[in-house]
């Protein structure tokens, strides 16, 4: 019997069977977690911390190659090469921290170890969004209501039209600009990505209704700014003051170089995180859903919706780690609390399962996924672009 309104040719019973098969995969992997997985996350954390602190000191090291020192190697090309290496390493360290470590720890993927140091409810991450706020808007809202219009804030993040089902309005004409701006300021964007703030912009609540929330975000933003744009640059500048009596170079410029280097590292992380994350639900072929479709949703149907709404990116092992294994977005959405190093091994099983049930499994190269995301963004800035909300609903209820 078919009473559901999902765009697949399966009966209700078949969808439940599909769900049970996924559940079996989940239980099998969860039962086999052990020393190997613990060793993996400990190694990633250690590598990340070593890399971050080394990168900071390589940035400092580059300051000793400013031409004003006058020694044989003191030249801008040498200085910039070392600085570039430091910035690159810091960027990678921040990517690893945000994506492969914190995102997954905050999903409670490592809570099973019961290690008091690696727990979702105590972990804080290297970004402006306070981790507990993010856990709410991400784990609860986005992962429960994935791709459901009017429920999932991540459908266009309140500023973009990512599916023709969203009604067009003139403000969307600017969305290619928002696209670029959000890419560059992704960290800040995530920090203010809150239902309360979204409602406020629509005039649904007063500022004082959520002042405590703003204070919490404000404290986190301050500590992030204090680290990257005050503490590390200031320490360098303070050392540069006495040196400036012998080496003609302004301590202010030293401050600027270190602050600038940190800013570029943050920018690298922003662009990379944005690219990977936008490939998760917005490439061509990803489905969106109406509230009506998901009413009274069973676990089997929830699994189906996660699979239809998520997209994978293909790549090598290092690529998967640097993307926080969000390149396995489908597996991540099916099993959000499975430890990330296991996604790679369950992906072929999930793919084969999808194939058996004739369910689309959206997996392609980064070029294809990001390319179609970007083209979609351009197209949907203008009216039309596909079947709008209303007709689809009627069509679904007729079948």
């Amino acid at each position: 019997m078919k009473t559901h309104q999902y765009p697949v040719d399966l009966t209700d019973e078949q969808i439940e069977e599909f769900g049970n098969e996924l559940e079996a995969i989940r239980n099998e992997v969860f039962d086999s977690r052990g020393d190997r997985d613990r060793a993996y996350i400990l190694k990633v954390i250690k590598t990340q911390r070593t890399m971050a602190v080394s990168a900071r000191f390589i940035i400092y090291l580059s300051l000793f190659f400013i031409p004003a020192w006058g020694h044989a190697l003191a030249a801008w090309p040498v200085m910039l090469t070392i600085l570039g290496l430091g910035v690159f390493m810091l960027g990678i360290a921040k990517i690893l921290e945000n994506m492969e470590i914190a995102h997954n720890v905050l999903h409670a993927q490592w809570d099973w170890m019961k290690d008091p140091e690696i727990q979702s409810n105590t972990w804080e991450w290297d970004t402006m969004s306070p981790s507990d706020r993010w856990m709410h808007s991400h784990n609860v809202v986005h992962h429960t209501w994935t791709n459901v219009l009017e429920k999932d804030l991540d459908v266009g993040y309140g500023i973009m039209r990512v599916t023709p089902m969203q009604k067009w309005k003139p403000a969307f004409l600017l969305q290619p600009i928002y696209f670029i701006l959000l890419m560059l300021l992704f960290e800040e964007g995530v920090a203010v990505h809150e239902q309360a703030i979204d409602d406020h912009l629509k005039g649904k609540n007063k500022l004082k209704d959520f002042t405590p929330l703003l204070k919490r975000i404000g404290y986190k933003v301050w500590r992030q700014v204090a680290k990257d744009y005050i503490a590390w640059p200031l320490a360098a500048a303070l050392v540069a003051i006495p040196i400036s009596f012998y080496v003609p170079f302004s301590p202010l410029l030293v401050f600027g170089i270190v602050a600038g280097a940190n800013a570029v590292a943050n920018l690298i992380r922003n662009i990379w995180a944005f690219t990977i994350i936008f490939c998760g639900h917005f490439p061509a072929g990803a489905h969106n859903f109406t509230l009506e479709q998901v009413e009274g949703e069973t676990r089997g149907r929830w699994y189906l919706r996660q699979m239809l709404g998520s997209c994978n990116i293909e790549g090598g092992k290092l690529f998967h780690i640097l993307s926080g294994n969000l390149s396995h977005q489908i597996e991540h959405h099916l099993f959000p609390d499975m430890c990330s190093n296991r996604y790679q091994e369950v992906a072929p099983r999930v793919r084969a399962l999808a194939d058996r049930y004739g369910i689309p499994y959206n997996s392609a190269s980064l070029f294809r996924q990001f390319g179609t995301t970007w083209l979609n963004n351009l197209r949907l800035a203008f009216p039309g672009g596909g079947e709008p909300y209303e007709p689809r609903r009627e069509q679904a209820s007729q079948s």
Binding site: M113, V140, K227
Partner: protein
């Protein structure tokens, strides 16, 4: 990790903590200590760790680990115990062990002596798998089972099996301080070569006139039942036991017998007992739900074996934190205070106090208490 630790009220912050307040601005959202850990795990302040510097087999199933604690360690009193974090099969377990070395030890290390007990996965893991060079998270010394500092007492130690450890630490401490009073020690072990720390005990007996050791091999002789603890045995080995302060550590059956004996003799006040309570609850074979207690809210209700604890709490008029209601977001995570719950998805039973429970997909399996 979220907020920097507050110094204890009344204590003025040390130079190190003042300095680390500044350096923490560089390390945010971590602490300076997380980066010091990369250089030497013993320098951390966000957690205390110890390095395993020596392992030594006491008997075929008991092993002594010598541990070098991190900088934040404070000395113990002889007889106290310490919590030790053990990673086994990827999971972190916490167990409590008595420190078997005296505080007077000169190399700043301490020892724990662990006996692999039947069905004890973790004790087996410690005895067989922990190697020299491993780092183990530890707690600070705790417990009130120690000798008074100044009171002149004459102790009688009654110990069995690995319950020897606090007594061993206490006697050694008194010897090291040169103030060992007249001491009797009755120790029970199955056979001669099963005595944990047996060689050391015999050496102590030989070189200290005031230390009187009575080793009883409970599974030897024609009639092993005669070797069990009894008032008559006590009279024979230590006639003045009623005038002594008794320090006892061993299995529950022995402790009960001693308590009964001291009660009958009217000198229960002189008895000091150390118990090791297992952190596990027996899983009821017919686990069909039970009484559910929410400790913080002081609410008690009935929970059957299929109703998620979250729903039970809501039906009892509470509004605990929750999110997806399907076990994926972990907003509802809480701690198991005692008792036993079952994960409705996998059927896995959680019965270790301190386990994290997702209330939206766990149901009662017998009586349980949650930190909600």
């Amino acid at each position: 990790m979220r907020q920097p630790a507050q110094p204890e009220p009344g204590a003025s912050p040390s130079i190190w903590s003042r300095l680390s307040t500044i350096t923490d601005y560089f390390a945010w959202p971590l602490r300076t200590s997380h980066y010091l850990e990369l250089v030497n795990p013993l320098w951390t302040t966000h957690k205390l760790q110890a390095r395993v510097v020596k392992v030594w087999d006491e008997t075929k199933d008991a092993r002594t680990l010598t541990l070098r604690p991190g900088l934040n360690w404070r000395g113990h009193r002889a007889g106290q115990h310490v919590r030790v974090g053990i990673p086994a099969n990827g999971k972190h377990y916490t167990r409590t062990y008595t420190i078997s070395s005296p505080p007077e030890r000169e190399d700043d290390c301490f020892t724990i002596t662990v006996k692999a007990i039947d069905k004890g996965t973790i004790s087996h893991h410690i005895v067989r798998n922990i190697k020299v060079g491993d780092y183990l998270p530890i707690g600070l010394p705790q417990g009130d089972f120690y000798l008074p500092d100044a009171q002149p007492i004459q102790p009688l130690f009654i110990t069995a099996g690995s319950g020897i450890t606090p007594a061993f630490s206490m006697v050694n401490s008194l010897i090291a301080q040169g103030r060992l009073p007249d001491t009797h020690h009755i120790h029970y072990a199955p056979h001669e070569f099963d005595v944990v720390l047996g060689k050391e005990l015999k050496a102590m007996d030989r070189y200290n006139d005031r230390y009187h050791l009575h080793l009883i091999y409970s599974r030897e002789g024609d009639d092993p039942s005669r070797n069990r603890f009894s008032a008559a045995q006590l009279d024979a080995l230590c006639p003045d036991w009623k005038e002594r302060d008794v320090y006892a550590c061993g299995p529950p059956s022995l402790l009960e017998a001693i308590e009964q004996c001291m009660e009958d003799a009217g000198c229960i006040r002189r008895l000091h007992v150390e118990r090791f309570r297992a952190p596990f609850t027996e899983v009821p074979a017919d686990a069909v739900g039970g009484r559910v207690r929410f400790a913080q809210s002081d609410v008690e209700t009935d929970g059957d074996s299929d109703t998620p604890l979250l729903k039970a709490a809501e039906e009892a008029g509470m509004n605990p934190p929750h999110g997806c209601r399907m076990g994926i977001c972990h907003t509802c995570n809480t701690t198991l205070v005692s008792g036993c719950v079952r994960d409705l998805r996998t059927g896995e039973v959680l019965n270790e106090a301190g386990s994290i429970v997702q209330t939206c997909i766990c149901a009662a399996a017998g009586d349980c208490e949650l930190d909600l």
